[in-house]
Amino acid sequence: MNALSRRQVILTSGAILMVAPAQARSPGQPASARQRWGLLIDTAKCAPDCNVCVESCKAEMGLSGHDRPLTDAQYLRKINVKDPATGASHSLPVMCQHCAKPACVDVCPTGASFKRADGIVLVDRHICIGCRYCMMACPYKARSFAHEEQTDQQPHLPRGKGTVEGCTLCVHRVDQGLEPACVESCKAKAKGAMLFGDLNDPESDIAKRVAREATTRIRADLGLEPGVRYQGI
């Protein structure tokens, strides 16, 4: 706390390195509660055999893995869902749902799991002790534990053994005014099933569609108020 003033000076004088598109706040600014980032996923446009979003997530996050499916990290996965009564089935990507009332944040003993002001739920891996209680608490199985040493990390996504990790909603891209990698790749290489935007901005596409069309959230009954919405499940 005492060192704050000096830091503040450094920060405010911090070079503005990136030319940000209109949507983003300027880089020196902290995230603010005026925004609430969210996703809208239209399962009608999501083909069961399409894995574009998952692949782009792996590449973006440097999730090289060790060919051990039970312990390798998966930030984003495709789930195939089938209604046993009717036989109808569909496919959808599931990642951290960036809840407004995240269970992981409530249970984390050190406060490493936290929700940024703009609704993005993250793990501060500098104070994560690797207890995995958040993984016990998350209803979406959205988090992975780094079970072994990691190499080939991306500069924008540090990750290493012994801490818990998960989808960051590509916070490093969002802060530059870009969309998450999965959304971008789905738009470019698949059918554009994913829409990213600010749910708090009534002018945004996502807010308009959420206001107009029927959407659901996974396990809405648990009351965690996820920021990721789906259509057609």
Partner: protein, 123 residues
């Protein structure tokens, strides 16, 4: 505490003879100058990084000075073929000094040690 003491010794030694035999020689960095004066950097970089860390991660303040990513971007040396050498490799910028001062920050367990991910790690 011990590390601070060592740092003091290091700095005094550095002032007395900047190329004394047992001092680490640091690979040259890219760019004109560091984000602060070298003396400040030597003394304060742990604190700067720690603060930056919380500001960036918790508040989302990007593009500020003391970013670890940017340290690596400037301070990772390159081989003659132009491939980046990890900053924590023996003899490299961060490592040589820390080995000398006997501190072992764990940052590079997670943080990338080169500006671009090394595909075939040189180690």
């Amino acid at each position: 505490m011990l590390a601070r003491l060592l740092l003091g010794v290091l700095m005094m030694a550095g002032a007395a003879a900047s190329f004394a035999a047992d001092l680490p020689t640091l690979p040259k960095a890219k760019g004109e100058a560091c984000i602060e004066a070298s003396a400040t950097m030597r003394r304060d970089h742990p604190d700067m990084l720690r603060h930056q860390r919380d500001d960036t991660l918790r508040q989302g303040i990007r593009g500020a000075k003391a970013s670890l990513k940017e340290c690596v971007a400037c301070h990772a040396a390159e081989t003659t073929e132009g491939r980046a050498i990890p900053v924590n490799d023996p003899g490299q910028f961060c490592q040589s000094c820390h080995a000398y001062a006997a501190v072992k920050p764990d940052c590079f367990e997670c943080h990338a040690t080169t500006p671009k991910p090394v595909k075939e790690a040189s180690r």
